[in-house]
């Protein structure tokens, strides 16, 4: 098949490309230039493009660079900034997957006559009909499943949880069946220059020196806020209310009982943060906004049990999904046990209660 591989310059996408070449496909590599500003996080800087290009050369495949900086700014960076100004905490990597990689790039791959778009994500496209999963590109019959990758420490199904049947029919995750160690070993065997390259940790457009606060403070006004306890008694302040998330412990100090305090409520407009004990900060459910709901195959019926994961490497917890209480079009995810609150704007990925490696859908917390 003709396969376009998105190569970030990291070892996972390098090996993904290598595997496809070994499998005899007609492979072309592409690196996306997404961020035009300074970046040291190791994703898609000029050095990363050079790494991706060099690996492509070592594999004997053509390599292109696609300039999507304008769209990236419009669909990922601007909303990231705008949402923070409203006190929400979006995950830009999820938005990038949603609007850039598995939308624009996928359509570009179609137009250019590629049968598949492959990435180095640790995830698997499976089939309901077959046992286990299919790691290589092949004719997996519909309906498609999105499954966790083989390495539980590196599983990236969470950031792919918005994908549906149409996208899944045209993507491939060649390293999804491998552990990270196996990926690096493979890269070493091939002598790829990225074999030992560290994984990129942070958001690709925020440098480690400036951090989220530095980045945002240059683009929106951040406001200090009063911190109060549950009884309305003042107990401190924070520099930037827009950066405080519900459930946060960092910076909140201790209560008069000597115990750690957690954010229980954030009111951006009123510039007020409320703190309480760990128990007071727990929530029994989270509401997912109707328009944000996506399903891998079919929507879950209200009353269905599921497993929820609320962050990229968070612990999956059992839950039940219900219709939104006040007749809205959203869904309520009620946890079996109260959990740290999910910040508004965060993605909640839902997995099958009876097959917890399979993603069933996702939504964004209100």
């Amino acid at each position: 098949m003709r396969v376009l591989v998105a190569m970030s310059g990291g070892v996972d996408s390098s090996v993904a490309a290598a595997l496809l070449v070994e499998q005899g496909h007609e492979v072309v590599g592409a690196t996306l230039k997404l961020w035009g500003g300074p970046s040291d996080s190791g994703c898609c800087s000029v050095a990363d493009v050079d790494d991706a290009r060099r690996v492509a050369q070592q594999l004997g495949i053509t390599h292109h660079v696609f300039n999507l900086t304008e769209e990236f700014d419009r669909h990922v960076v601007a909303p990231y900034v705008g949402e923070h100004a409203r006190g929400r905490t979006p995950n830009p990597c999820i938005e990038c997957n949603r609007s850039m990689k598995f939308d624009r790039l996928l359509h570009r791959a179609d137009r250019l006559g590629f049968h598949r778009l492959a990435t180095g994500h640790h995830a698997r496209v499976g089939s309901v009909g077959s046992v286990g999963s299919v790691g290589s590109v092949g004719d997996v019959p519909a309906p498609f499943q999105l499954r966790r990758g083989a390495d539980p420490d590196k599983d990236q199904s969470y950031v792919l949880s918005m994908l549906g049947q149409e996208a899944l029919s045209r993507v491939a995750f060649p390293v999804g069946d491998m552990t990270k160690r196996e990926v690096r070993a493979h890269a070493h065997r091939l002598g790829l220059r990225t074999a030992d390259k560290p994984d990129s940790q942070d958001v690709c457009f925020i440098g480690s020196a400036e951090g989220r606060e530095g980045f945002l403070s240059r683009r929106v006004e951040l406001h200090p806020a009063e911190v109060m306890d549950g009884e309305g008694r003042p107990s401190g302040s924070v520099n930037a209310v827009e950066l405080v998330t519900v459930g946060q412990r960092r910076g909140m100090g201790h209560g008069s009982d000597g115990k750690r305090r957690y954010v229980t409520h954030v009111d951006v407009a009123a510039r007020r943060v409320t703190v309480g004990s760990a128990a007071e900060a727990l929530r029994s459910s989270v509401l997912l906004a109707g328009p944000s709901l996506t399903w891998v195959d079919r929507p879950l019926a209200p009353g269905t049990r599921a497993v929820a994961q609320v962050s990229a490497h968070g612990r999956p917890v059992p839950c039940i999904v219900l219709a939104q209480p006040d007749d809205g079009d959203g869904m309520e995810v009620r946890f079996d046990d109260p959990q740290r609150p999910v910040a508004p704007g965060q993605t909640v990925a839902l997995y099958d209660a009876f097959d917890p490696d399979a993603v069933v859908g996702a939504g964004i917390a209100e």
């Binding site: 690196t31 493009v49 050079d50 660079v65 300039n67 570009r108 137009r111």
Partner: protein, 393 residues
């Protein structure tokens, strides 16, 4: 392979390759000597270098002593922009550097670096064809101006500046200002000795005229005072230190000799091929139009014979290049950035081309090796690829 990107680089002329090989194989024991020295290998190297210098000087209508060999067009541009500016600052304490809005990045970024270093730099606006506005130029000229950079012909559109007229204006209003012209793209087709006669600084790049990558030249008129950019042994009369690339210089000189011998015939032939390509594409690619319109010719604006710049709406330029590359047709989308991605063209924006139209810009540049078969193939492939991309794959 249908190669239509000669503005990016040109195939090495066999004559140049042979002459360069001979520089090494003809050397005795000890190999190619260092031209700075007195023993026999040094003498030979020096002779080859100076013969090459004579040829380059003749090509530009200059004195051999005015020719400085460099590592290419970019180094020449940096030296031409920053060298005199730095010297003027050391002497007078102030400098004004003018540059046109359509200069090659080697000149534009040198001017930006000058601005960052505290020099007073000003951009000269151009009209819708990319030609320097003579009134704006006249208004900006003063006795404070150290140098004016206006390229002979543009690398993206091929538009030729009315250099003799512009130079005359500069001489009249700012007689002490140096004129620097980037002649890199014009070199294969124009008689530079004539066209750049009044300029003080003229830059050349070997690999744009069928010579090797890695060598270029800068003509520096006697009156120019410049601070070198590269210090060391004082070669090139203190203007550019470093052991000269003798083989490269021979390659450049040989290529220029061939260009001169064939110039008139090549220009006519290439223009004919370009016109056929242009007419064919305008007819079969729906919505495509010439970035430099036909009306430009009526206004006395000429384009280099090998250049064809089109805007093709309704397709993503990057996709067009990928798809054409897959068909073995090599063209260019215009300017690239450090990572190799396409970026919006400052040339088109200076000409007033709207960004959404500039997004579909395609540059075809023919050269001495282009044949009818190349044009046939391009006319067969380009419209089909555009249609396929517009259909959605």
């Amino acid at each position: 392979m249908t190669y239509l990107d000669h503005a990016a680089t040109t195939p090495l002329r066999p004559e140049a390759a042979a002459a360069m090989a001979e520089v090494h194989t003809g050397a005795g024991a000890g190999g190619l000597g260092n031209p700075t020295g007195s023993h026999p290998p040094a003498q030979r190297a020096r002779r080859l270098l100076e013969e090459a210098r004579d040829e380059v000087a003749a090509f530009l209508g200059r004195d051999p002593g005015d020719i400085v060999f460099t590592s290419g067009g970019t180094e020449s541009a940096n030296l031409a922009v920053l060298g005199p500016a730095e010297a003027a600052r050391q002497e007078r304490g102030e400098t004004v550097v003018l540059y046109s809005a359509v200069e090659h990045p080697a000149v534009r970024e040198s001017a930006r670096a000058a601005a960052k270093a505290g020099f007073d730099t000003r951009e000269l606006p151009v009209d819708e064809y990319g030609v320097v506005d003579p009134d704006a130029l006249a208004r900006t000229l003063s006795s404070r101006v150290t140098s004016v950079a206006i390229m002979t012909a543009n690398n993206e559109t091929g538009v030729i500046q009315p250099l003799p007229d512009l130079i005359e204006t500069i001489h009249r209003r700012a007689p002490n200002a140096y004129v620097f012209t980037d002649a890199v793209q014009a070199a294969p087709y124009l008689d530079l000795a004539e066209v750049t006669a009044g300029a003080d600084l003229v830059s050349l790049s070997a690999h744009k005229v069928g010579g090797p990558v890695g060598v270029g030249a800068l003509a520096v008129a006697r009156r120019v005072v410049l601070e070198p950019r590269q210090y060391g042994g004082g070669q090139e009369r203190e203007r550019r230190s470093g052991t000269q690339d003798v083989a490269g210089a021979v390659g450049l000189a040989t290529a220029l000799r061939v260009v001169t011998a064939e110039r008139a015939a090549t220009a006519t032939r290439v223009a004919g091929l370009r016109d056929r390509l242009r007419d064919g594409l305008l007819e079969s690619v729906q919505g495509a139009y010439r970035t430099v319109p036909a009306a430009a010719a009526d206004a006395g604006v000429d384009v280099l014979p090998g250049h064809l710049h089109l805007c093709v709406p309704g397709v993503e330029r990057e996709e067009l290049l990928v798809a054409l590359g897959a068909e073995d047709v090599s063209v260019s989308g215009g300017s690239s950035c450090a990572s190799g991605a396409l970026q919006p063209s400052h040339v088109l924006s200076a000409m007033g081309v709207a960004p959404e139209l500039a997004a579909g810009a395609l540059r075809f540049t023919l050269g001495y090796g282009t044949t009818d078969a190349d044009i046939d193939r391009a006319l067969a492939v380009v419209p089909a690829v555009v249609a396929a991309l517009r259909r959605g794959g």
